[in-house]
Symmetry: C2
Subunit: 214 residues, 2 copies
């Protein structure tokens, strides 16, 4: 049996550990990398090793960034009374990219998952309640959100079982802490380009529930 050289086999094994990379893709990627110049390999290796360098978590929204507070929390052109709660930094990124949202974020750092032992105390739930309760963050009086109360919390956790559970829990604790604040949930329905015929029952049910006047 022809055996692959050790260094190549090791890279295939390492790449195969990445999410969504199967054995065949790992092999293809490893051979591709093998054919690259040493300088490009070193460059990629350095970038991998340094990915955590210089990244801090914002003490206001708990998103990742290069400064604390992050650029979004310091931006006074944004509406700091509108807080969008998301699971992960990528979700904030996705919503921001859509260009339709001009508020600020609050990154939970995950979802409630009793099976994996993840409760509200493992997520940024208390800091969200503190943020809603306070006038601004109290961290730095020059921050734009100071003096601006949170008026609306948009819960934008994923439409998964855990995401929905987390959304329900959040709405409950926010409501019990503040009876006047507006709490909304992003719409669930048919995605653009989707097909009624192939939509699952829950999506269809949500789409019907969420129908609006036309």
């Amino acid at each position: 049996m022809t055996k692959l050289p050790t260094s190549l086999q090791k890279l295939i094994n390492e790449l195969g550990k990445l999410p969504g990379i199967g054995p065949k893709t790992a092999q293809r990627l490893a051979f591709y990398l093998f054919r690259q110049d040493k300088i490009d390999l070193d460059n990629l290796a350095q970038t991998v090793a340094k990915v955590k360098d210089g990244i801090v978590f914002c003490s206001v929204c708990h998103n990742m960034g290069e400064f604390d507070p992050c650029a979004t929390c310091k931006d006074d052109r944004r509406d700091h009374s509108l807080v969008c709660v998301v699971e992960e930094p990528l979700d904030a990124q996705a919503i921001d990219k859509s260009g339709q949202f001009n508020g600020v974020f609050h990154v939970l750092g995950g979802v409630l998952n009793p099976l994996e032992g993840i409760g509200p105390e493992n997520l940024e739930v208390q800091s969200l309640l503190d943020r809603i309760a306070s006038v601004g963050t109290g961290l730095d009086l020059s921050l734009p959100e100071n003096g601006q109360r949170v008026k609306e919390v948009i819960i934008a956790t994923n439409p998964s079982l855990e995401g929905e559970t987390t959304a329900m829990h959040l709405s409950k604790v926010i409501r019990s802490a503040n009876s006047t604040i507006k709490i909304t949930r992003i719409a669930r329905g048919l995605p653009m380009g989707g097909d009624l015929e192939y939509a699952d029952d829950i999506t269809l049910m949500r789409a019907m529930e969420g129908r609006r006047d036309y």
Copy 2:
């Protein structure tokens, strides 16, 4: 617009250069890596940087390996009179894995591609002809292929336009150098688990041409 931290964005860009990795996958992988421990990142980085280390090309079959001549060319349980010509090392690996081939390989290092300026002189064609012409490699008299003439050349380039052109060219030059050697081409037809209804015309044509008595 929320901007991703520089180190993360750089990793997304680097990963996005890999074949088959789109922008979304690059982002997902970069975030996954970001969440890994520093020690795992360093490990992956080292493996990437060192992938070329200790790999040599076999002077007999031009496959990659850790020794020259490679383990396959030195294996005396193999039939050195049967040479399978493939495009790339991965192809040799795939054929070997199937377990049905007990001969040796000859890795061309690509296919003829006039548009990209790749002619026979850029591939291991002359070395194949030399290998067929000589009795053994002449490199080392202790090698098992010494004293054993090549009796059959199986051309196993891919069933692509370039692969077929290369196969045609090889059969022509081998024939003109040696009029008695057996030259074969791997069968092209319907893949296992394939469906006649969805097969393309050329595959069907090849499958009909290649039919055998049952």
